[in-house]
Amino acid sequence: MNEHGSTRLSGVSAVLLLASAALPASAHHSAAPFDMTKSVSMQGTVEKWVWANPHSWLYIRVVKADGSQEVWGFEAGSTGMLARTGWNAADMKPGDKVTVSAAPERTGNHIGLLNKVQLADGRLLSAGAGTPPPGATPPPPGAGSPPPGPANSAPSPR
């Protein structure tokens, strides 16, 4: 497990910070429990991928350096918004090896607000905000411009 905190806002965390302001819109609760200025990254094995509303949840088992194990839960978006961002209910199944990046819960509980997941096959699923993930097929010609992404506008709540 590689955990690190930073007082400097990276581009990603800045986006997440913006997202946190919007999260309670459709979130089942406020984003207040999460420290959006920090990021944790860890490798683990998928225990359960809950495709649900108002939030999907990813539960993974992490084996620490001393051999002990921890279960972590990561909150993701609503199913419709995840689908629009390129996610699928079948993306992960128990036993899959994944690398997760998330904003950690403030008091040290094993909970995080999901930012991105690297799958065993190399695919990267990002939290996004209704925008296509990197590498996603662009809209067909003449379909008009997609809504502004989180990099240049206020992101959509989930």
Binding site: W72, T79, P132, P147, S156
Partner: protein, 275 residues
Amino acid sequence: MIKHNTLLTLALCSAMITLRSGAAEALGSSWADATKLPDFFTGNWESRESFLDSSASEVPYTAQAQAYVAHYKPIADIPFAGPGCKTPGMPIVQRLGSPLKFFYQPGMIAIYIENSSMTRFIKLNAKHSAQPNPTFLGESVGHFEGDTLVVDSIGFDDILLQYGDLPGKGTSPFVLPPDAIFGPHGPNLRMVERIRLVDRDTLEDQLTIYDDTVWKQPFVSNAGRIFKRNHGENGWPHEWVCSSDDTLTFDPSQDKTIQEDPAEVLKRLQKNDKH
């Protein structure tokens, strides 16, 4: 003379027929009108703005509301954040981020609100019921003024009504529940929306709220006014059912977010899987 009277009668009849047919042909009354309406219908519409009003919307309170506000204690989150995802109702439910999808049939425009899987039904060119039953979306009638759909809604249940913001709060781009003042509405609460296309991919929903028990003047909302169109697959509606067994749950009775150990939640979920 007879010829003159006959012509006059024919002209009057013709004028009456024209008037009657004109009244019957208010936009939104026929299938043929589907091609004449502004295109609210292709794809869906996603709000990327604050779902709560900023302090810029504030209008003077009535004495009754002022007394309520003086003793108001801020809340940590909205009722939607609690178990069962109780809807905040109009207008906040439309601004919760997941898109809106418009549908048309003669005499009706429906708006599917993906977040909560609720649908508004707007009767076109019709009058309100004499005594509508209370609902969280209200009873809505609408008509077109040019390319603008004007929707008038009454008959609201126990919706989450934002009066304004706490002193010094509500100034950020995204106003959060602890910044806002919410309170009960009066019996004559009425919302009027003017919905139009700003451009092909931008929809504006300009909302004015009338409640003479809360405000001395109409409340002109600045929240969730602009929606952007999603195309293609992203413009397709999705089902939304409140079903997840969250590790985090807001408890309105305690006004706090309850956290569970994810290991315990996982055990419960896996146990349920076996049944």
